[in-house]
Symmetry: C2
Subunit: 391 residues, 2 copies
């Protein structure tokens, strides 16, 4: 019997992955670049256990037993078992998998990337697999390959038909640019959301512009932002990040039927950031949006006190929610000058449009937790925490 | 002394004009196709008068005296005087111009196209100019060239440097497809709006995708929609109209900083239309959006009673505003089946999100009004109606 527990980060792309060239192997139509967030604030945690006593493979997600026959999960397991270095006897043992996120599900924060990265890493250790693990995570959820690595990460699209060269590699560790900060703004939104898998398939099938982007625009942008990261050139990094987020959502809108992930509050944040950058005559903050209305802001540590004060002014929190409004690394806000507020061209929103914010930083990537108290499964291979009673 | 009064229609593009190749001559980077609306519901009306007694050129717009030195207006006057067929003596006479719209300004309905078309046509008659007038309207406001003609209209981008072949021509008159109806949904919106002139310049300067669209996508779409019009093939017409509207707004979003004209209600209408078309398994309605949040819907006469009943259900009018909510051609709404409402995947909005609607049809284009009682200027060349007192 063996047990492995691992945590893996959420990653936020600055050059976006949108579109697959192979739906089965989850091979992308362009390279992408992301930042892995500190697991202290946001992470998936997974315990995997194999035992001769288990009757069948089982999985629990956030305290609920889920269907082990989920096709993406099965693809990961197949890939793992293909590369396993175990004896035949051990290969027959069944698996129990238990996974949790340390952040609310349904917040619109992508959890599948962290989850599949964590699963791939935990299983890789359990099955004694060596070498690149990102390709295993990738067949579960494309962008999960980027969550297998810390710091600034590039997912190389590759060119092999079998996907063996479609892997994630580190550009620079978190410590390379320690001033970088991330502020996640979770937006209140009732709208049902189209999954990014369905969304990107629709864009690939219906937007001619997407193919132009993948072929001609992304290659240049990817090189430029990688150079900006290496030079710690924040304003170039920020400008490219914003342009690439806008282009992703432009191509969603160019799809048929159109896909709309952002809402009026997302757009109001975009306008506020541009107005703020214009007033301070510098690009101090960048926004990026994934398949939902939540804004993820990149900025340097020194600019956080002013930025959060501005957000508090234009997007006041709901008074009933003040305790849990600011999460993550504590933030000192600064007193804003009247002059700055007068120059910013934005309107004060009704309270509560931003549900809460999470302040985090770039993280070192996944970690194996060796202490038995960290395991999510008990000695019998059953979840320690359950949301619904065990059936 | 001579007096001419003319009315000209608003036109709504189905293949959009977005981007100039020449900012001075207002030459576009692609062909566009539009529908001229019936002047009964929406039009500009202009009276022009020349007299040896006038001291200087003057203009009144919607009852207010405006600056005659407006550069676009001056370009029109220069163009007119260049092509005039008058004696030298008459050419020295000064002009009085008075123009009004029969629809509320500030509604976000583009009035400059109708206005410049009307001005060009009125002046052309006064100055005895023959041949194409659309090029004169064009130098005032690009899309105004399309409002000089009724029915279904194509603005050919042309290739001459002097713009002489960048002209509008009729594809088919209004009577060719008499079942076509237009429903304008005026949306409540407080947001300051970026003018389309500034917006398209920003897109030309910053969106690489725009140039791909102009070169590779629009030429094919233009031919296809022209064929759809000639075949009265509504579903092809509708699909291309929606795709082109979405692409225009996609390219606005791909601009830097991004331009956002639509809002949550615009997007909710888009989603409703797609859901409705899916449920009825046919493309019965198309939406299109210009540089603002108002939806313009194209549909056939027979589908109007059901569509308006659906709009009344999902976007209920404000009770305080029922009298002026439905404008233009009267609409009989039908009783909706519960089955249809259950299948449509949309949510009922709070009342008043749509301010009012205007039901209209394709129109015959501009008209000269010969009766003296139609003139907007009196015998002294002064406006009959004034908003602010004459200074």
């Amino acid at each position: 019997m063996g047990t492995v527990t691992c945590i893996a980060p959420v990653n936020i792309a600055v050059i976006k992955y949108w579109g697959k060239r192979d739906e089965n192997l989850l091979l992308p139509i362009n390279d992408s670049i992301s930042v892995s967030l500190d697991t202290e604030q946001l992470c998936a945690k997974t315990t995997v256990m194999m035992s001769q006593h288990f009757k069948e493979d089982c999985i629990w997600l956030n305290g609920n037993k889920e269907n082990i026959n989920n096709p993406r999960l099965q693809k990961c397991l197949t890939e793992i078992r293909k590369r396993a270095k175990l004896t035949n006897e051990l290969m027959d043992w069944k698996l129990h998998i238990c996974s949790e996120n340390n952040f609310p599900t349904g917040s619109g924060l992508a959890s599948s990337a962290a989850g599949y990265a964590c699963l791939a890493l935990a299983l890789a250790k359990l099955y004694k697999i060596e070498g690149d693990i990102s390709t295993i995570a990738r067949v579960g959820s494309g962008s999960a390959c980027r969550s297998t690595i810390g710091g600034f990460v590039r997912w190389h699209m590759g060119s092999c038909e079998n996907g063996n060269d479609s892997i994630a590699k580190q550009i620079a560790p978190a410590s390379y640019w320690p001033e970088m900060r991330i502020l996640i703004l979770v937006i209140n939104d009732q709208k049902k959301k189209l999954s990014s898998a369905v969304g990107m398939k629709r864009t690939v099938d219906t937007s001619e512009l997407l193919h132009y982007r993948a072929k001609y625009i992304v290659p240049e942008r990817t090189e430029k932002i990688q150079t900006a990261i290496m030079n710690k050139d924040f304003s170039t990094f920020a400008e490219l990040t914003m342009k690439d987020s806008n282009q992703l959502h432009a191509l969603c809108l160019d799809s048929y039927p159109p896909i709309i992930y952002m809402n009026d509050i997302s757009f109001a944040i975009i306008n506020l950031i541009h107005s703020y950058n214009t007033v301070v005559n510098d690009i101090k903050v960048a926004y990026t949006y994934d398949a939902g209305p939540n804004a993820i802001l990149y900025l340097l540590e020194k600019d956080m006190p002013q930025l959060v004060a501005i957000l508090d002014h234009y997007f006041p929190p709901d008074n009933n929610n003040l305790d849990s409004y600011k999460r993550g690394i504590p933030i000192e806000t600064e007193q804003l000058s009247q002059d700055l507020l007068e120059k910013i061209d934005s309107k004060v929103q009704e309270p509560g449009k931003i549900k809460y914010m999470i302040h985090t930083t770039v993280g070192d990537g996944p970690k194996y937790l060796e202490s038995p108290k960290d395991h999510l499964l008990n000695d019998q291979g059953l979840p320690i925490r359950l949301t619904s009673p065990l059936v």
